[in-house]
Amino acid sequence: MFLDKTTVAKIARLARVRIPEADRDRIAGELSNILAFVEQLKEVDTKGVAPMTSVVAVSLKQRDDTVTVIGDRDGILANAPQMEHGFFVVPKVIE
């Protein structure tokens, strides 16, 4: 096993996906199998190999500093599950 149910709980928390306690062992097994599968990359000698940073060989294009978007509040809020006074509304955030 590459990871246990405690780690599953930790990852689930990081990813904000609730995984019921009862499912954690099963998921730990599934994820461990995938990690075992990808583990074979360890065989590859990658010393001095630059990681791939761009698939296409072009330079990053840059936009002019012009305002091209006319504020479309209705469009922005149209799909919101909850909104009010022009704001998105979420459960209270406590800091």
Binding site: R18, L35, F37, S54, V56, K61, P81, P91
Partner: protein, 490 residues
């Protein structure tokens, strides 16, 4: 008017211009076919009103002699493309009720050229899958069956609804996206042609992202020419996609006719994987012979890191996906499951909104990026990815194209291979390398398996040499004379 649904795009284009039938008739024939084939679940959303209004506009233009390149051609659109005002789900519960206030660049290009939208096609949830079974809206089914069997087969994935719709005559062509084989594998399973263009050839703007460095839109159609026609409209530079490439879009249809004469074809020995059915090996050999007969030269090539492509893919794609899917949080659109705190709302929404495979990949992606594991997994994978791209670059110094099978098997039945995620992942073994290297690749139907199901051959080209990929595919298509359809000969 059943015959209208078996036309090629090129044939329909000619028929419309010759006024043999109207765009409205063509569209209505397809809407009727869709209504009669709902069992296949190829469409998540049908858009008949939209289609009829576009077809009417096309007829007006045809009457005025102002036909655009795709005037009146009815298409299916993978439900990963955002379509303005039309429900867009990505096959996921979490995008419940999402009506984008914008249009993807690729679909906007198609409408600019006169195409007609019949509806949004079914797909694996967030394009994660190889069989269309992960769709929240239920699996799409292949119109094919093994002769003498009533078992429903998968159409492949993730663009399974698109492939099934094209094969079943529920549209003349369709859009797909290909992150690890999601256009080519379903094309192979459904006996049609599917092209994944070079990364950067088609804009990604407005396509729900799965893995940003791998995703690429492309066409599915019933022949090579139709793919060439569709690609010309779909492709092009988009200043709103930083990875879109500013190069002119050639007339692929015109260039396709060059044939395979003089082309140097590479056959990678590393693609002869253990346990590959002999009929696939036989078909591959057949493809070599066809290309030789058309004047190509064929040689063995080395792509030494091929076996590491899948594990590389299953790190890079989930890592990017885990981040790309963080925006589905119940705040601005889609599903929200109420919670007492903000975090509870997030966790419940995402637990209810994502299916098992998506959760699995989000979790793997989160893990491989997390503190202490980044170097061992993600960085390592991106290094191996460089080596895989380098393998192709080296091979393309001595050959023009790579020929390989598209998939290690024909379509399987719903229920097969479903328990083991890894077994499912192995479907992508031949298709993933082209995504990792960003190269154009096509699947063209080349023959039938022993149990009567279509099998595709794959051609991979140099970046932005879709024209050469299409030309060689046309050669195979002509030589294979593949005339089978799900209902027998077409």
């Amino acid at each position: 008017m059943a015959s209208l649904t078996t036309l090629s795009i090129a044939g329909a284009r000619d028929g419309l211009r010759a006024r043999e039938f109207s765009a409205l008739e063509l569209t209505q024939a397809h809407l009727a076919a869709m209504a009669g084939a709902r069992r296949l679940n190829a469409y998540i959303t049908e858009t008949p009103e939209h289609a009829i209004s576009q077809a009417a506009e096309s007829d007006a233009r045809l009457a005025r002699g102002e036909a655009r390149p795709l005037e009146g051609i009815p298409l299916g659109i993978k439900d990963l493309f955002c379509t303005k005002g039309v429900l867009t789900t990505a096959g996921s519960h979490i995008l419940d009720g999402f009506h984008p206030p914008y249009e993807s660049t690729v679909t906007a290009n198609l409408w600019r050229d006169g195409a007609v939208m019949l509806g949004k096609t079914n797909m694996d949830e967030f394009a994660m899958g190889s069989s269309n079974i992960t769709s929240y809206y239920g699996p799409a089914l292949s119109p094919w069956r093994r002769p003498g069997s009533a078992a429903d087969l998968v159409p492949g994935g993730s663009s399974g609804g698109s492939a099934a719709a094209v094969a079943a005559g529920l549209c003349l062509g369709a859009t797909g996206t290909d992150t690890g084989g999601s256009i080519r594998q379903p094309a192979s399973f459904c006996g049609i042609v599917g092209l994944k263009p070079t990364y950067g050839r088609c804009s990604r703007l407005g396509i729900v992202a799965f893995a940003s460095s791998l995703d690429q839109a492309g066409p599915l159609a019933r022949n090579v020419r139709d793919c060439a026609i569709l690609l010309r409209s779909m492709a092009g530079h988009d200043p709103l996609d930083s990875t879109s490439v500013d190069r002119p879009v050639p007339d692929y249809e015109a260039m396709m006719g060059r044939g395979a004469k003089g082309l140097r074809i590479g056959v990678p020995k590393q693609y002869r994987v253990d346990g590959m059915p002999s009929e696939i090996e036989t078909l591959w050999r057949q493809g070599i012979d066809w290309l030789k007969a058309a004047g190509a030269t064929v040689r063995d090539i080395d792509l030494p890191h091929t076996k590491y492509a899948l594990p590389t893919y299953y790190i890079v794609a989930p890592a990017e996906a885990s981040s790309n899917l963080a925006r589905y949080d119940g705040v601005r659109y889609g599903l929200r499951v109420p919670g007492a705190s903000i975090d509870e709302m997030y966790e419940l929404t995402r637990a209810a909104g994502f299916g098992a495979e998506v959760k699995r990949r989000v979790m793997i992606g989160t893990y491989v990026l997390s503190a202490g594991y980044y170097d061992a997994y993600y960085l390592k994978a991106q290094q191996v990815r460089s080596l895989i791209a380098r393998d192709f670059a080296t091979a393309f110094e001595s050959v023009d194209l790579v020929l390989a099978p598209t998939a290690p098997s024909a379509a399987f039945a719903i229920g097969e291979k479903m328990d083991d995620p890894i077994a499912m992942y192995l479907n992508d073994v031949f298709t993933v390398p082209a995504n990792l290297a960003g190269l154009p690749a096509i699947s063209v139907p080349a023959g039938l398996s022993a149990d009567g199901l279509p099998l595709g051959l794959q051609l991979i080209g140099r970046a932005f040499e879709e024209d050469m990929v299409l030309a060689a595919a046309k050669t195979i298509e002509d030589a294979a004379g593949f005339s089978h359809g799900p209902g027998g000969a077409r």
